[in-house]
Symmetry: C2
Subunit: 263 residues, 2 copies
Amino acid sequence: MQALQDLFPIFVPTLTDTMQTTNSHNETLYPHVSVDCVLLGIHDDLFCVLLTERRNAGTGQTEYKLPGSLIYETEDLDDAAYRILNETTGLKRVLLRQFRSFGSPHRTANKEDVLWLENASKMKIGRIVTVAYLALCKVRRMKISEKYSPAQWTPIDALPRLPFDHEEIIREAVKEIRLWTQIEPSIVFDYLPPLFTAAQLRHTYEIIYDKPIDVRNFHKKINAMEYVVQTEELQQGMPHRSARYYRFDKKKYNNMRAKLNTI
Amino acid sequence: MQALQDLFPIFVPTLTDTMQTTNSHNETLYPHVSVDCVLLGIHDDLFCVLLTERRNAGTGQTEYKLPGSLIYETEDLDDAAYRILNETTGLKRVLLRQFRSFGSPHRTANKEDVLWLENASKMKIGRIVTVAYLALCKVRRMKISEKYSPAQWTPIDALPRLPFDHEEIIREAVKEIRLWTQIEPSIVFDYLPPLFTAAQLRHTYEIIYDKPIDVRNFHKKINAMEYVVQTEELQQGMPHRSARYYRFDKKKYNNMRAKLNTI
C-alpha cells in the first residue's frame, strides 16, 4: 500500500517539529494570526536579515522564510514572538519589539505558500494577519546552534524568493531601523568597536542606508557630531597614512538629547 | 407571535448601521481581527480621548468605547481604520498611524462585551486580535456632525467603564504619545497658539505628562530650549504682571535636530 505521505506529502521542517512538541501541551493553533520575527544585523559588511529554511514538498528544494508561525489559541502576541524565535533558532536574549501588523488580503494569494502552511499546521488556512516583531542584532554574538533549523544571515539586497509578504515585511523593517537611527543615532555606534576610524563609521552608515556617502562631506558631518570625539590613537599597521581613531561619547550624546527634550 | 428581536434583542448602534450600509457591497466581516482608533487631544485643558457611544441591550444604558470594528474579509488594515473612523465619526482628514496590535486571549473574557459584538456583527465571536491606530488631534478643528454616533472627548483620567481592553489600549496610546513628544518635541507646540506664555507651555506639558512641573525649574528649561524664543510682546489685560510671549522657532529646532542626526 502506498504511504499516505507519498500521496499527500507532509514535509516536516523544524518549525513543525517544535509546534508538535508544544502541541503535547494540548494547545491548538489559531489559524488567523501569525507572528514573524525580523532580525536585522550587519554581517560580513552587509546589512542582513536572519532567514530560516524550509523544504518545498513539490520540488524538494530548500526555500527561505522569516522565523514565524501561527500563534496558539491562548497565547499572547509577545509570548508567541519569543516562543517562535526560540523554537526556530534557539535564540533567547533578543529584545524583540512589535513594529507593525501586516494584513493585506493578498498576503495569502500564492497557493503554494498556503499549501505549505496547511501541511505544516494541519489546518485549513484562509486569510492571516501577521504581527511583525523587529530586533537589531549584533550578529557576531548570536550563535545559532546546529540542532535548530538552519538559519542564514542573508543580505537584504540579495533576498531569495520569499513566501507570503515576507519581502515587504523586511523592506518595511529596514525603513523602520533607518527611522530608529534618525531618532536615536546612538544605535549606529552599537555596531562599531569602542575605537573606530571615520571610514568605519562612514561605512556603517553606508551599509545601513544602502547608499554611498561622500568622504569630504562626511568629515564635516563628523565634526558637527559633538558626541563623536577624536582620540590620540592612530590605526596601526596601515600601508599608507594611518587613520585617527574616534570614540562615541555617551555622556555628550545624552546631554545633547536632553537639550532637545528638556521636560 | 413574539418578534424574534424580543427573544434575542439585536440593538443596532450607529456602528452596525454603517456596517450594514457597507454590507450592501456584499462584504462579509472577518471575525478574528478588528481595528480600534485612539484619537487623543487636549480639550478644555484636559488630555482627552474620543469615545463613541453604544447602548447596552440588557440595561438600556449608554456605554462608551473606542471607535472600532471588525475588519472586512477583503479589507487591508489601514483601509479598515480610515473607514471605521469615518463611519463612526464622519472624520476624514485625520492622520492615523498604526501603533500596536493587542492580542491577549483575555481581551474577550467579559461575556457581555462578546455578546454585544455578536449582536452587532451577527457572527459568532471567539478570540479577536485588534490593531490599534493612533492620532494626535487638534480638538477645536474637529467638528463631529450630529448625524454620526454621539462622540465624546473624554478626559483620560476619568474614563468610564470600557469594553474589552480599551482602557489598556488608551493607556498604552498615552505612553506612546509621550514617547513621540520626547522623540519629536515639536509636537507639543502644535497644541499652542503662535504666541504663548511660559505658563501656557508649562501647562501643556503638565496636561500631556499628567504631573505638576515646578515653575522655577521650568524657566531654566525654557532657557535651555534654544528653539523657544522670547518675543517683545506682552500678554494684554492681565490684572497683575503681564507675562512675556514666546514663539516656537521651527528653523532653530530643525537645525538642532539636524545636529543630532547629521547623516
